[in-house]
């Protein structure tokens, strides 16, 4: 039993810090309902400009088209990379030998190379392969990421080998063991991986911008960035666009929050 004053102190601490982290989100929502000049002046109460901001945003940019594009690309990237990386992570752990462990170290080393360093050669490669202005050009480089492979490899470590042995004795093929045994047990890892990949794909800005520079392939982050490019920025409208851009990832995160925490810590049920 915790004493009352201690409890109060605990709550006060938690409330203050959660306010700190949630404040930008609240402020964003409030700013989306205000006129630009009020946002600049730091008005903290909701205003009546939501509709006007929305109309201005729709007039200036193709919001729903960009939203659709973002969803399309993010879902494709997420699905493909979950399949590829989970298979890779599973393989690295379950069938591990010296060579594969060495290879894994190389992959982890690759994690440390910043994207900007590889961007220009990658662009040249994609151009030679004829993938400029195609969805494939955007998706291919982001399908396999060292982080996801490592995440799946770590969680495969806690996957009981007895189950695999038992399944083999019962006559399941190796691929079927993966699909029927590994996949259902690792659901929370998949959820965590999905959240991370979706967010990364959704927020990915530089690469899609480089590879697909056509108005019809515009994604949400590009749209938001376009709004800040002028000499004069309409902050109310900008905040509304940011709100639209944030919502999907927020919703997905809240839905998968529980599994996300489990997946990251590597729990097996």
């Amino acid at each position: 039993m915790i004493s009352l004053p201690k409890k109060i102190a605990q709550y006060a601490f938690l409330i203050i810090f959660s306010l700190f982290s949630i404040f930008p989100l609240i402020w964003m929502a409030i700013a989306a309902t205000n006129q630009s000049i009020d946002v600049i002046r730091g008005k903290m109460i909701p205003g009546t400009y939501l509709i006007e901001n929305y109309k201005a945003l729709i007039a200036q940019s193709d919001l729903w088209h960009a939203m659709g594009n973002s969803f399309k690309y993010s879902i494709v990237v997420t699905l493909l990379s979950l399949i590829v990386c989970s298979l890779a992570g599973y393989g690295f752990e379950i069938y591990h030998d010296k060579f594969k462990d060495g290879l894994m170290s190389v992959i982890l080393l690759a994690m440390m190379v910043p994207f900007v360093a590889t961007m220009i050669p990658l662009f040249g490669m994609m151009a030679k392969m004829g993938f400029l202005n195609t969805v494939a050009g955007f998706v291919l480089p982001s399908i396999s990421t060292p982080f996801l492979i490592m995440l799946f490899r770590q969680s495969a470590r806690s996957f009981p080998h007895d189950i695999i042995e038992a399944a083999r004795i019962d006559g399941l093929g190796e691929f079927q063991i993966f699909v029927r045994m590994f996949f259902p047990t690792m659901r929370s890892t998949y959820a965590a991986a999905m959240t991370i990949t979706f967010m990364n794909a959704w927020n990915n800005y530089l690469w899609p911008k480089v590879i697909m520079n056509k108005p019809e392939t515009q994604t949400m982050p590009m749209l938001v960035s376009n709004l800040t490019a002028g000499y004069v920025t309409d902050y109310g409208m900008l905040m509304l666009a940011v709100l639209f851009c944030t919502l999907p990832t927020v919703i997905i995160f809240f839905c998968l929050q529980k599994s996300f925490a489990e997946g990251i810590t590597g729990a097996v049920k």
């Binding site: 630009s36 000049i37 600049i40 002046r41 730091g42 200036q60 940019s61 060495g102 170290s105 190389v106 080393l109 961007m119 220009i120 050669p121 662009f123 040249g124 151009a127 400029l132 202005n133 530089l206 911008k209 480089v210 520079n213 056509k214 108005p215 960035s225 376009n226 800040t228 490019a229 002028g230 000499y231 004069v232 902050y235």
Partner: protein
Amino acid sequence: MKKRFLATLMIVAMSASMLAGCGSSNDAATDNAAATDDAAATDDAAATDDAEATDDAAAEGEQKLTVWCWDPSFNIYAMETAAEYYKKDHPNVTVEVVETPWDDIQPLITNAASTGEYSQLPDILLMQDNAFQKNAISYPDLFVDLTDSGIDFSQFAAGKLGYSTVGGRNYGVPFDNGAVIACYRTDILEQAGYTIDDLTDITWSRFEEISSDVQAKTGYYLLSERTGEIDLIMMMLQSAGASMFDENGAAVIADNAALKNVVETFNSLVDNNALLLTQQNWDEYIKSFNSGSAAGVINGCWIMGSIQAAEDQAGKWAITNMPKLDGIDGATNYSNNGGSSWAVTTNCKNVELATDFLNSTFCGSVDFYAEILPSSGAIATWAPAAEADVYGEPSEFFSGDAVFKKVVDFSTKTPSNNTGVYYYEARNAVATAITNIQNGGNIDDELANAQATVEAQMQ
């Protein structure tokens, strides 16, 4: 065992990256050669393509120009209006504007130029003036030389044209004006016993007196600048016709009398409460004069849009020229900050069409400039445009002054400036020097350091 393996791996990785690093300059040379060959080959191919394209075009009667620019209410609007004007006489030409922020255009150009893959670039793109020479010099294959294209470049203000001129050749069509204006709140000046005339044609030392006085009497600063940002320094420097580079592109930061004077003036303004330093981000800067901690702004004329956002301050602002440096030969009350120019890229398959389009709109139509001015505030740098009636119209926000005419007048008096390839590097080095000087560093030492930093980057 495992450790040894990892160590070997690291060594291999590092030496590989070093080798790649060493090889790059040679590679670049061969690449360049290859690129030129390629370019020649593509040119040939393009020529045949072109012929086919023109045939196709003639058959379908459709010709298209793609343009990159970034501000819907400003340069995109201007470009779209230009397209409409051109379409009147050339109904088969469409202009597709792709909204591309400046911050993206630079990496896209770097990508294209370093891989030799120009195919993604548009026909025409808008270039920030400060970056124009850098790109034109670093990537000689990037822009089409417009010197003999039939465009009359003598009709543009010399200070503006300098940005897009390299080795006497013109690579850009100047677009928006970046002439520096000084805007002050007349109501605040009045409270302190001054008028806008007291701030016209003055020197920085006089400005400092007035500004400190206004600050003491009203609590308002007459000028604000972001901490660590040196836009103002650059404006002051150019107003005296000085640059951070000489004509040959060599850095002149140490032993630059004008620059030293500018830095001393700037620091003196800060020390005497004549200049408010805001937080680093742009929003805070805008807020300083929108919400009333600063009663004055000195910046490129495009800042008017942000000032006018505070509608409740209408009629309380007035425009004049900026203060000039004391004791420097060639010091003026005029300078430039920002602005941009149109460039035709080598990816353009129909250069004749692109230049004809620019020539008959941005360098040939008073009506066009007159139309875009009122709603976009895009003030021309093309001298004949100022003849249009709208330029003489009074602005109610700025106390009934004919501000557009004033800006065009300022821009014709602005001395030109050498930006060179390493302009941004030099800016950063000088910004660091200023921060160090404000923290007690010696001005000569710090500027010498900045010079050394820039020279190291230039090697």
